[in-house]
């Protein structure tokens, strides 16, 4: 037994050493490399991505090699950061004046940095003709207070995944009964629950999703100039009532309130949920639950009276602190050009933000032997035109989001009526917006 504890001790030490090395990598990468890069001078740029290793290592390294071949005077150092750590890491880097030169972020977080003037304005850094090469909605997703703080990278729109087996078990027809609207989803949830005891619908309420649900159901979040809450209306109330009813009648899992998206995928993969919107996890489902994957039928995302659909955008920012701005922007444009994006989207079900890449038949035609993964991609591309960024970047966004989440929780848990909860959210929003 002593031997075993010794081995575990050694393992722990090894892990500590490894993690320490991992850290030193990040910091040493910055050392002695900041050189001026006007035009043809030597430059080394540091590039951070969000959780792309190891699946896309070959792809990213390939793009970097191509870029360095074209631009022999620019060297690119790539660092991949876990998604959960990225915001902290970039903040720490910016505050210690050692920001990387090119970073992959999402608009919500990037807008917080942009708000603090920490990011290069792409309206000025990118030529107008180059701006036009991107899908307009994706380009506009990265704007706050009239400036563009990022270049769009890859996109996705919401596609539902439906477990055909559960539909059939509940006596429903997967071709006809798959929900398109929230009301359909409620009906499916009822039937599936009654017939099978499983959950028909699992709406995630994590992060900004409550706000998205409300917008889809036709509520405006704020007035035009973003100074007052505007959601205390019939549409807003309907949204609150909808989720309260589903939750209290046990038509959606109680984890909807506490779980993150992990619990949604877990339950779908376990065959306990018939429909959820999580097509971005399709590859994961294929790997973890091949049986469920076989039975999966992708369909258009669930929406409300507004008919709106949401688009998610990954972007590329250049921090204002960079000393190689020109080289950094050049690399950002290279990474997001049509050719490189097309190649990237062939590796995983994402959509490119480059217009030219989207015209490829890969996004329009399903082959004979199309798998769920292919159907997700084609469905996603087909609805790109009708999709938009539903929640525009806002100041103090995290507080606003939390206030709404708290209010709808009060209603769902039965502590308040939906109307009282909506009043509370409105008061909280007005206070935050007036800051």
């Amino acid at each position: 037994m002593k031997k075993k504890s010794l081995i575990s001790l050694l393992l722990i030490i090894a892990m500590l050493v490894m993690s320490a090395c991992g850290n030193s990598d990040d910091s040493s990468a910055k050392d002695g490399e900041k050189k001026e890069s006007g035009g043809s001078e030597e430059a080394t740029i540091e590039f951070w991505t969000m959780q792309l290793k190891p699946t896309f290592t070959d792809y990213i390294e390939g793009v970097i090699a191509d870029f360095e071949k074209e631009n022999p005077n620019i060297k690119v150092k790539w660092l991949d950061v876990p998604a959960a750590d990225l915001s902290q890491k970039i903040l720490t880097a910016v505050s210690s004046d050692s920001a990387p030169d090119v970073v992959n972020l999402n608009p919500t977080f990037a807008s917080q940095l942009a708000d603090l003037d920490a990011l290069v304005n792409m309206d000025e850094a990118v030529a107008e003709e180059d701006q036009k090469k991107y899908v307009q909605g994706a380009w506009e997703a990265n704007q706050i207070n009239g400036t563009t703080f990022a270049i769009p990278w890859y996109l996705s729109t919401e596609v539902s995944l439906n477990n055909k087996a559960i539909y059939e078990e509940a006596g429903l027809d997967p071709e006809k009964d798959i929900p398109v609207t929230y009301e359909d989803a409620k009906k499916v949830a009822k039937t599936v629950k009654e017939e099978t005891g499983k959950y028909g619908y699992f709406p995630s309420l994590d992060l900004s999703l409550v706000l998205q649900h409300m917008v889809k159901m036709g509520a405006d979040l704020t007035n035009e100039d973003g100074t007052k809450a505007a959601f205390n209306t019939d549409a807003g109330l309907k949204a609150f009532e909808y989720f309260t009813e589903l939750y209290q009648d046990d038509l959606i899992p109680r984890e909807a309130l506490t779980g993150d998206q992990r619990s949604t995928i877990d339950m779908y993969q376990a065959g306990q949920v018939a429909t959820f919107m999580g097509s971005q996890f399709i590859s994961q489902i294929k790997e973890n639950a091949p049986d469920i994957y076989e039975n999966t039928l992708p369909s258009t995302g669930i929406t409300g009276e507004s008919g709106k659909k949401t688009i998610s955008v990954q972007n590329i920012v250049v921090p204002e602190q960079t000393e190689s701005k020109e080289a950094a922007v050049k690399f950002a444009l290279f990474l997001t050009n049509a050719e490189n994006q097309l190649e990237f989207s062939k590796l995983t079900p994402i959509l490119p933000s480059a217009v030219e890449a989207l015209e490829d038949p890969y996004f329009t035609e399903a082959g004979e032997d199309a798998e769920p993964v292919d159907l997700v991609r084609i469905q996603s591309a087909a609805q790109l035109d009708e999709s938009e960024l539903l929640i525009k970047p806002m100041d103090n966004y995290d507080e606003l989001r939390q206030a709404m989440y708290d209010a709808i929780s009060e209603a769902m848990l039965g502590n308040m009526s939906p109307q009282e909860a909506l009043d509370q959210a409105e008061a909280a929003w007005n206070e935050i917006l007036s800051k």
Binding site: L91, V94, L113, P253, D406, E410
Partner: protein, 288 residues
């Protein structure tokens, strides 16, 4: 022989530099930041006691502080008392006792993220615990362990206790082995039974260790974060949100570094006071 008076300090220096750079300097920095408006990017702006004034008016601060105390009251007694009995149990000279010692210690070396996810499955509506209780006919409806405002914080506490038992057991085990055998022999002669030996010999001799464990587990309970982050995210409706979690969200989700630092300073002061009380109250009889 002449000894240079500076020599001992020279030996202390490397440790002091490390402590100074990574503990004391950041602490002082936090005190300073708590009186500024700081978002990590723009320069910190001095605002006096505004952060503290806002903090004391913030309902959520009071709620998370209350939760922290509930956590403290729930976790510390369990972590002080249960490990004593575990230590007594694994202190027997039995064949394969090393296995049991390791078994109790395994939760300590398990990554909290892994443990949190595993416990998440245990606690799910249709998870292991509800299943077992259902089979045993103890419940008819699943209990909402992590999804009800009444139970979430207690469910998470169990994980903290489960994970800490082995660690404090080892401390007590070291304590037990330092108790001279003569005392037990004397007790045997006086005709004491097993229970009397535990309560009259073992526990009094362990008091210095109880003190250490109390302080260590109180500080750990005040700082609890990962379990909550992984299992409930502070929910539902902040019912399992502790002060450290609150500080984390204010600092890293909302970039209110100054405000978060103020909350951090309050947490520091509370921990300090608790530790002093512990030492004064429990350490007066033994100067060990």
């Amino acid at each position: 022989m002449r000894t240079n008076k500076l020599t001992p300090y020279l030996f202390l220096l490397p440790g002091l530099i490390i402590l100074g750079a990574f503990i004391f300097y950041p602490m002082l920095q936090a005190f300073w930041l708590s009186m500024t408006d700081y978002n990590m990017i723009a320069d910190a702006e001095f605002v006096g006691t505004t952060n503290y004034e806002n903090l004391f008016q913030d309902d959520l601060f009071w709620k998370t502080l209350t939760n922290t105390f509930i956590y403290l009251i729930g976790v510390v007694p369990a972590l002080v008392i249960i490990p004593i009995f575990l230590a007594v149990l694994v202190n027997q000279k039995l064949k394969g006792i090393g296995f049991f010692r390791s078994a109790y210690y395994i939760p300590v070396v398990t990554s909290l993220v892994v443990a949190g996810i595993a416990w998440d499955w245990v606690y799910k509506e249709n998870g292991l615990l509800n299943y077992v209780l259902d089979i045993l006919n103890i419940i008819s409806e699943p209990i909402h362990w992590l999804t009800s405002t009444q139970t979430a914080i207690f469910a998470v506490m169990v994980v903290t206790i489960w994970k800490g038992l082995g660690y404090y057991m080892i401390i007590y085990l070291a304590g037990l082995q330092s108790i001279p055998n003569d005392l037990y022999e004397a007790a045997d002669i006086d005709g004491a039974n097993w229970w009397q030996k535990v309560t009259r010999v073992t526990i009094p001799m362990l008091m210095p260790f109880v003190l250490i464990v109390t302080i260590m587990s109180s500080i750990a309970a005040m700082k609890v974060f990962e379990e909550i982050y992984i299992m409930t995210g502070g929910g539902p409706l902040h019912s399992s949100e502790t002060l450290v979690f609150y500080i984390y969200t204010e600092a890293f989700d909302r970039l209110n570094m100054g405000y978060a630092s103020a909350a951090g300073v309050v947490l520091f002061l509370i921990t300090l006071v608790l530790s002093i009380i512990n030492i004064k109250f429990m350490g007066k009889d033994n100067t060990a």
